[in-house]
């Protein structure tokens, strides 16, 4: 298992390098340039100077290699400096956002907590709703509960979050007035009252995203349970005189969770990437909103860096899913 994990980690390096190249090229080849953001009133020679200062005029491979060096060497050094107060990265050029003219990483670090609290909670809520629904739907297949579960999953699957989000805002935010329609990023939780306010403003984005996540996962859980419920070992467990609870929640569930856990692990990167629309809708100033803003503003370094961070997350959670698979299923040993 350990050698397998190490081998996979090593293999991830060329994969990520390739992805970084593709991302860099895609972003670079996309229409629009930082020059278009400079007002036309700026004289041409000044405009030239600005572009030169940004390093935009360098050849493509130079810019790519420079960006790689910044991402993998200078930024980690900066991280170490920030943590331990050392001075390794002194005088080195960091990845600078075109829009704010400040380093990209601190900007991302500012946005990350919002994303993690709102979108992360939504994913967690989604999983916690989905698993019991899936288990019980399968156990009572074709029952009224199962029918409702199926309908709920259908709705969650087929209705996009920008629609459910808007409906939620109109119904719960405007008509009923239960929850604020906008997420206040400046709110700091200091006491009970502010904690409640934080909960209230999180409620809607969490519900919208949670429902969307729960829909898919509950379906996987249900079909995985159904598949295992038919297996011979379930009959064996019953013949041994195990209680229904043990049969379903131990024998069947343990087997059914194997594929579902990997699906859940694979879905985690989407916490960061896939929630862009929801973040925008509710004004959560998270990482998804940062990406949208950067794309609109032709902020190439920001877009490249964020896209690459997503890529790293996806690759690592793929690896985690595979390792989890091996841990859960004794039949799978990678060595």
């Amino acid at each position: 298992m350990l050698t397998y994990t190490l081998r996979r980690l090593l293999l991830a390096i060329p994969t990520l390098l390739l992805i970084s190249l593709v991302i860099f090229l895609l972003v670079d080849l996309a229409p629009g340039s930082p020059a278009s953001e400079i007002p036309l009133t700026v004289p041409p020679e000044v405009r030239e100077k600005i572009l030169e200062a940004l390093g935009v005029n360098e050849p493509l491979h130079v810019r790519y290699l420079l960006w790689l060096k910044q991402f993998f060497w200078i930024e980690p050094l900066n991280g170490i400096d920030a943590l331990f107060g050392t001075g390794f990265a002194e005088g080195m050029q960091r990845i600078i956002s075109y829009q704010t003219r400040s380093p990209v990483f601190p900007l991302i670090a500012e946005r990350l907590p919002q994303t993690l609290t709102v979108i992360g909670t939504a994913y967690l809520v989604g999983v916690m709703i989905a698993l019991p629904i899936g288990i019980y739907s399968a156990y009572r297949q074709y029952s009224l509960f199962d029918q409702f579960g199926t309908m709920f999953a259908m709705i969650g699957f087929s209705v996009p979050t920008f629609f459910t989000g808007t409906v939620f805002i109109i119904v719960f935010g405007v008509w009923l007035g239960w929850f604020p329609t906008k997420y206040d990023t400046t709110l700091e939780v200091t006491d009970w009252a502010s904690f409640l306010r934080q909960l209230r403003q999180m409620a809607m984005p969490v519900m919208v995203l949670g429902l969307a996540n729960a829909a898919a996962i509950s379906r996987y859980m249900r079909s995985s349970m159904l598949e295992n419920m038919k297996q011979d070992y379930v009959r064996t467990a019953r013949a041994k005189g195990m209680s229904e609870r043990t049969v379903v929640l131990k024998h069947v569930l343990r087997n059914s969770l194997i594929p579902v856990v990997t699906i859940i692990a694979l879905g985690i990167p989407s916490i960061f990437g896939g929630a862009i629309i929801t973040e925008n809708l509710f004004g959560v100033n998270g990482i998804g909103a940062a990406l949208i803003g950067a794309i609109r503003g032709n902020d190439l370094p920001m877009v490249q860096t964020l896209a690459f961070i997503f890529a790293i997350l996806i690759v690592s959670f793929n690896l985690i899913a595979d390792v989890l698979y091996g841990l859960l299923d004794p039949r799978i040993r990678y060595d």
């Binding site: 070992y233 019953r238 013949a239 041994k240 195990m242 039949r331």
Partner: protein, 340 residues
């Protein structure tokens, strides 16, 4: 076997029906049999004859719906298993009645260790703690002939061969010293040499532990080796029943006779084609009012389509204790021979 001793298991008039969208299927029709301590009852019949369904009905292993037990009684000791509630029946399963299934490759849970799966019923029914259960599990594995038992407890099913897994299944079934062991085609999925080993093991265990065994199979050769009595099933009912030697020597029912003819012989003409019983077993969507075998029977008479024959004794013993058959037809020559 000692006659007159109270049977461990006494089944009378068991009826099981499956309710499906296409109507009812009467899978078990008034099956009666009994089982004494230390006795092996062989149950034979082709696929769909109701052998497995009968045995699963006894201890509530059939999913309901669609299965529904319509009548009869299943006396285990002095309790009627059809009258007790689900919770009490669950306490019987695994504790008083052990079950071994056909396919050892899929009958064990792949994600739990073998030890855990053996210890589960021990802890559930006998209230043993972890150490006691573990000690008993090692004992059981040794009993079924698995070497290095203490170490093997931590192995997963996929680390065992088919024969070894079936030994584990037997160990699980025997864990709580059951009165009755039901073995549902336990050797069908194994190759011949392993089959022989398992047969030997079961015979040995029966000597050692003295439980009663119901052995379901469609392999007449296996029945001849292990069983004391044989029950031949067709169309969800018992068509012939008797001591194994008697039944094999003087089969009464045309179905039994046909079954025995299908056994390929290693002597005689090699060119001879394998014997088959033409046709299909019936699917019964009502309580049969005619003999279920009549369509395939070479001796079918007019009465066979009017009246479903009841079991009748063909020797002096009371019905169910000696040789009996459910057929209107009597083989004339054999009849004299049997009583000569």
């Amino acid at each position: 076997m000692p006659d007159g001793a109270a049977p461990v298991l006494d089944v009378r008039g068991l009826k099981t029906v499956f309710r499906t969208r296409g109507g009812e299927i009467h899978a078990v029709n008034s099956v009666s049999f009994h089982l004494k301590r230390g006795e092996v009852l062989g149950v034979v019949g082709e696929s769909g004859s109701g052998k497995s369904v009968t045995m699963m009905s006894l201890i509530g292993l059939l999913p309901s719906p669609p299965a529904e037990i319509r009548g009869g009684e299943v006396m285990l000791g002095d309790r009627d298993l059809l009258k007790i509630d689900a919770e009490e029946l669950r306490q019987v399963r695994g504790a008083k009645v052990g079950f071994v299934f056909q396919d050892p490759m899929t009958s064990l849970n792949p994600v739990f260790t073998v030890g855990m799966q053996i210890m589960e019923p021990l802890r559930e029914h006998m209230g043993l703690d972890k150490q006691q259960a573990e000690a008993r599990a090692v004992e059981l594995l040794q009993l079924v002939g698995i070497p290095d038992a203490a170490k093997r407890l931590k192995s997963y099913p996929h680390q065992f061969s088919g024969g070894m897994r079936q030994r584990v299944m037997i160990a699980i079934a025997l864990a709580c010293n059951p009165d009755v062991l039901i073995a549902d085609e336990p050797t069908t999925a194994l190759d011949v040499t392993i089959q022989a080993q398992i047969l030997e093991l079961v015979k040995e265990l029966r000597q050692k532990l003295g439980m009663a065994i119901i052995w379901i199979t469609h392999d007449l050769g296996v029945i001849a080796t292990v069983a004391d009595r044989v029950m031949v099933m067709y169309g969800g009912q018992v068509v012939e029943h008797g001591p194994v030697k008697e039944l094999f020597a003087f089969p009464r029912h045309p179905y039994t006779r046909a079954l025995l003819k299908t056994i390929p012989s290693i002597t005689g003409h090699r060119e001879a084609r394998l014997q088959v019983i033409e046709g299909q077993p019936p699917i019964l969507n009502a309580t049969p009012t005619a003999c279920p075998f009549r369509a395939r029977c070479p001796h079918a008479m007019e009465i066979c389509s009017r009246e479903n024959p009841a079991r009748r004794a063909v020797d002096a013993a009371p019905l169910g204790h000696g040789h009996d058959v459910a057929c209107h037809w009597s083989p004339p020559a054999l009849h004299e021979a049997a009583h000569a």
